[in-house]
Amino acid sequence: MAVGQKPQIKDFYQRHNRTSAAIVVIFQFVSVAVLAGAMLVSGILTHQEPIFWALICLALAVGISVNIIALGVIIEPMRAITAALSYVAGEKSASRPPNSNAKRYDKDGTKPMLDLIYKLTYENDTEQRHSTAATSNVPPIEAALSHTDASIIIFDANNSISYASPHAPVHPKPDGSQQLDLMFDSGDITFEYWLKDCQVNKMNSEKLWTRIHTNPDSADEPRIFDIAASYSRDSETQIVMVLQDRTSQYEPDEKDLDFIAFAAHELRGPITVIRGYLDVFDEELEGKLTAEQKTLLGRLVVSSNRLSTYVNNILNVSRYDKKHYRVELTKQRLDDIYGSIAHDMDMRAGTLGRILAVDIAHDLPTVAADANSITEVFANLVDNAIKYSNEGGIIKVTAKPAGDFVEVSVADNGIGMPDGVVHNLFHKFYRSHRSREQVAGSGIGLYISKAIVESHGGTISVRSSENKGSTFTFSLPIYSSVEEKLKASDNGNNSEVIKTKQNWITNHNMYRG
């Protein structure tokens, strides 16, 4: 046995066997020596006679052989017992454990001992298994989940969490029940909204969410999940939610967002200066410029304003795609929102020879809107109409109530689009073949406009006819129709924001970052 190696039961028999054999051999030598001495003393044979040595050798060989055989028979039960103990102790062995039903063990009386060893071992194992199961109570599914990034949450028929696997994003409430520790994005259908829809309209339903963050107020490390949920009405497991922790995959994207935010900051510095000093020129050179110089200055102003819009679009698209984009809905008048950019829009249209006709009545119902986000929607749609209309073309911006919404339309009589491209129009980076030939653009303005409008709970659509023009229509909820919901919402402290916003001036929004 090597130094430090744990002694094994199976070694005992061999060691004992070797010791016994050595004793037998020594005893046999001693016995034969005594016999030879007696023969010499008595003079029966002298040590010079060959027959003397032949008898000595024979006595040694026969004696040792007989004793070794006898020894084997005597200690065989010990071999069997040792082998059985070695087996139940879990020691590795090339030989099979002794079978207690073999006749020889019955004959030599070893069988009861072997049976006892096996019986005691079985009872002990069974007891241990039961004991382990009783104390740890770990179902196989949880043991399996602990080796993966997946979690399971089950809701009962009362929509209470009845089961959450060990690493699921839930936290206890004061009443002892559990609640989800997830922050569903307001731009998508939230879990609560989906559940309400299921309860009213569905017997069975399934829903997928991606990039759902844990609540930032949670004490745990932030995590990001992809989630699949299934709903089965009135079942004991009414909702089964399977969550895949994708933090490691999505985190690098979050770092990209930081880079884009940083890059936007760097771009915005020069834009601030260019726009600012052009504004200074526009004011201080009023009346001193020729008509042509004024036109040239106007083009500079429009271009710098567009540049600012592009930077905002890039930043907002990045945020929207990473589920960081949020809007803050407050009570707003549409004519006020448009009024804040009316001069800029007039300049953009006038610089390229378009006529902008705006008719947004002051007495329209107030809407629930994130003012700055909606100015970006206006800017994108008007810019789009300018780009895709002809010189001298009229762009009409109108608004009217429609149920619980106010509908805003931006119509041009420009080049229009064939039916085949309309359904792709709000996809990111999409630009029709004709657009690419005739007009410069990135294809993200309509994409982010759709995202913004849908984040408000509204819709955006387009009607277009080739060579006749296009009409983009978006809707925003009337404030009174969602006021209670906004005030009651505990997601994002909206009620507090509405209250605080009375004295808050912003050209950008608190929760959009």
Binding site: H265, R268, G269, G276, S308, N503, W504, I505, N507, G513
Partner: protein, 128 residues
């Protein structure tokens, strides 16, 4: 409340000079500091009616200055209005600005000097 004195804390010299020039031309008494520490000292030493506060400042961030003036030393500038100006939008900064009772949070690239003047005028109206 009439606004007459303004402290502009802005480290970008081109932007700072642009704001200061327009504000002085409009008749305001304007002091301009280019670092966080100098800005905080100036705010402590003189009761300004309005502070234009950049966020990304050397030595001390705008958020720190706002927290100091509005929380720890709130008795020193009870009537001073604060407009936070930044080009680096961050959730935490804007949340902090609101929590510490800033009177506005503005993206510099989206406003021109004339727009800034109209915002300052709006701060003087009874509604604000």
């Amino acid at each position: 409340m009439a606004i007459k004195t303004i402290l502009c804390i802005e480290d970008d010299r081109l932007i700072g000079e642009m704001y200061v020039r327009s504000l002085r031309k409009a008749g305001y008494d304007v002091d301009w500091m280019v670092s966080g520490n100098d800005g905080l000292v100036a705010a402590r030493n003189k009761p300004y009616d309005l502070i234009l506060l950049d966020v990304m400042l050397p030595e001390r961030r705008g958020s720190e200055i706002l927290a100091t003036l509005r929380s720890k030393e709130k008795d020193m500038i009870p009537n001073t209005k604060v407009l936070v100006l930044t080009n680096f939008e961050q959730d935490e900064e804007s949340r902090m600005a609101m929590e510490h009772h800033a009177d506005g949070y503005l993206i510099k690239a989206d406003i021109t000097p004339r727009k800034l003047l109209s915002i300052i005028e709006s701060l003087e109206t009874p509604d604000n």
